[in-house]
Subunit: 477 residues, 2 copies
């Protein structure tokens, strides 16, 4: 409500802040009692909302009522302890508190001067994470929204390194620019293809390398593909090694892939968006083994390290090279130059940048490295426990080794086609019930059920209930 | 603090939420008393922070104390009523409340199913804004973080339309792909160059067209450049018309540019990141005249429409084409397909997407279209008032017409070089004082002072004080 210019009245705002504070506290306390996801038809929420914006001011009470009655019932509760879709969501109480402060400050971290603390804290938390990842100091970092954007920038640097003056002259109409090829396993994330599309390299130049029985890139197949491509005139540009693939969380053999990259002068990009988070768990350090051999590494603290969405870190061995590809300081920002400072706008397409560092800083301090490790370790334990349950029930089979917080398994039908249908039906039925939330994926062309752990609220009881629901649902489909 | 697994204790969280609520309310109430920006040296904040992450848990009180003592003094207060840098910041009380809810929900709006209400509300607010912009229903929209990313996607669609199978085959090593050229005025935003770099089109293929005396693209010069390029074998790809340029908020002649685009079968992209916000002000509708002739339009509600950062809307006439360039549904998301729904992940590089629609919806309902218009109108009035003051002081001169909430002016020195030095010095001195915050830019190679209005808290008193500080500072440099 505002009957004059300026913002809404201060006293009302304070009252609403406290109302929302209680709403948030109640939400977090009661989240386990909510249906995880709405069982609605597309368009049903939109149908309840006006098709045009209001002409006049509306009261906060009316807006909050509509939020509660129309929007909230249409939310999928990623933070629900029984939500086991995708990679576990990373809402945390301290993350929420940080997001509130970030929203209130609403600064733009494009240059150092536009908010010195935002830039310097970004440098600090990037350095903390770099140390956890055991990357040498030669690696510099930058925070983006998503790993998709991080991988795009990494491959842009690779492109620039492999051909002269791509920044300046582009790719087309040039006889001195070869046809590039980018290699990734058949389990790699779709963001690699999207990055290659955006960069003008051509989707068909993403060469999918077969994975082995444990869904890790087959390095012999990689080497063969690279040699074969080079022989017919392609220029092998980069290999994307995935550490924690989306379907099974498998880990590509980084050391061996790095050798192939060295042999053929290719860029090594590690997509550790999910798996990189294990850097804080001492007994899981094998997962980040040889990261220092990479040219670039992307890790999403919003996937395993309890930082709310969005926060993705890209590290580049020669970060000055990334800067050379993208720096471009317009006149209206030249006055910002202070000399020795970092201006993160220089490291990417996006000029405007949220102050994302604060939430990483608050969450990581709240738990400490040991606290993060203890929680992740427990999710790994639960994943192994669930794996044991699957193994012990003859009606089910494990579809992949359980490496991290992801379990892929399958209800066994009369034949493969029957199994595909049944497993998809199980996931659909369970998700529609609102009582648990799982995903399906395909492995070797067969539909399997995928359980993803990582929610901070998820306990053994939740995982046990999920298993009961899965077994009960399997009986009915 | 957490002595066991799971999240921090609920009772403590509730207490902290209320503490933060009061902190936010106090901050907003007292913001005008704060120094606008810190006068620190690069590295001074970082020097106060531990170089490595803590091993053990730390208390919220300790973290909040460090936030207040170390981080907060290093913040540039974009929402300060005396902050007149860049484009006016758009923090609003209702926007902050919305960001709190968004942070608590922390859903990912990648597919409809990952949170139906997030997707449907995005469709709703995009449609509200489309109506304000008087774009026909044939235009479909998508929300990104920044206009930089929006323009990159728009030009990716242009690239795909102009050459066959760029998505599939890329740009290099193909005789059937010409050298593309993209045209923008010498006042256009650096994001256009960055988009062209990322897309592999080559920075030198951004052709900067001279602007006229009022900093609007010279359409005759555009036509000549296009014809000359086509004659020597370039393929004119797209023209970017800017509506509200960064330095002066000038408006390129969209109707005439559209004619040139039609003549030469070029894509017309309108960068109305700032100026598009005037769509809600009836008497300023000339600014959005002929937007319907564009192939794509980008508008940043986080620039003029009081939506907190980040929220940028891209509209594409044939949005199905954008989808064809970027859609790529991996197996682990196929289960999400519900049939009739929109999955916004299909419209861009980024898979993960914040729930950005909520803040637009809450802010726009709080003020209503009339309330938004009244506030923007007042900023336009203040810009004109300031312009009058500059005109009435013989020591200063106006450097560009005042079209929107931006005023460019210059203190007159003994000669051009002297003036450049003095104006840069005035801006530096004022910004270091923390009492006002302005920018410098260059127009026709001369350094000028740039005042940007748009903060919801800025009143005539603030603008008057800025003018007094500028005049007093000019006396001392």
């Amino acid at each position: 409500m505002s009957d004059k210019l300026g913002d809404t009245p201060a006293a009302e705002f304070r009252k609403h802040l406290h109302e929302i504070a209680d709403w948030v506290a109640d939400y977090r306390e009661q989240i386990s009692t909510l249906p995880i996801s709405p069982n609605q038809k597309p368009g049903s929420i939109r149908a309840k909302l006006p098709g045009s914006a209001p002409e006049q001011t509306e009261s906060f009470d009316d807006i909050l009522r509509d939020f509660q009655q129309i929007i909230f019932p249409g939310i999928t509760h990623w933070a629900h302890p029984d939500f086991m879709g995708y990679f576990g969501a990373t809402t945390t109480n301290s993350g929420i508190l940080a997001e509130i402060l970030t929203g209130a400050l609403n600064v733009n971290a494009m240059t150092w001067r536009t908010s010195p603390a935002a830039t310097e804290l970004e440098t600090v938390v990037l350095d903390w994470l770099r140390q956890w990842l055991r990357l040498p100091e030669t690696f510099g970092g930058v925070v983006y929204d998503t790993a998709s954007i991080g991988s795009m920038h990494a491959l842009a640097v690779a492109r620039e390194k492999a051909a002269s003056e791509v920044r300046e002259r582009g790719l087309s109409g040039r006889e001195d620019v070869p046809m590039f090829r980018v290699y990734a396993s058949d389990q790699a994330h779709s963001s690699i293809d999207k990055a290659v599309i955006a960069l003008g390299l051509g989707e068909q130049n993403v060469v999918r390398i077969a994975s082995d029985a444990e869904f890790r890139m087959d390095v012999a197949a990689l080497r063969e593909a690279v040699i074969a491509d080079a022989r017919i005139g392609f220029k092998p540009l980069a290999v994307v090694a995935t550490v924690g693939t989306t379907s099974t969380a498998s880990v590509d053999p980084v050391r061996e892939i790095a050798s192939v990259c060295r042999e053929h002068e290719m860029w090594l990009h590690i997509d550790a968006a999910y798996g990189g988070g294990l850097c804080v768990v001492p007994e899981m350090q094998w997962v980040i083994d040889r990261f220092e051999l990479a040219d670039s590494v992307v890790v999403n603290p919003h996937k395993m390290l309890f930082v709310p969405f969005d926060f993705s870190a890209l590290y580049v061995r020669d970060i000055a090279r990334l800067r050379r590809v993208f720096t471009l300081v317009p006149e209206y920002l030249r006055g910002d130059a202070a000399g020795a400072e970092i201006n993160y706008m220089d490291y990417g397409v996006q000029l405007g940048r949220r102050f994302r560092a604060l939430k990483a800083w608050m969450v990581w301090r709240t738990f400490g490295r040991e606290g993060l490790a203890a929680r992740i370790r427990d999710h790994l334990r639960l994943a192994q426990l669930f794996t044991d349950w699957v193994r012990s029930d003859a009606r089910f089979e494990l579809s992949a080794p359980t490496v991290m917080g992801v379990v892929c398994f399958r209800y066994i039908g009369h034949n493969d086609a029957d199994s595909d249908r049944l497993n998809a039906e199980i996931v659909r039925t369970i998700n529609a019930s609102g009582k648990s939330y799982l995903m399906q994926t395909k492995l070797r062309d067969r539909t399997v059920i995928r359980l993803g752990l990582g929610n901070i609220l998820t306990t053994e009881e939740n995982v046990r209930r999920a298993w009961e629901i899965i077994r009960a649902t399997a009986d009915t489909v």
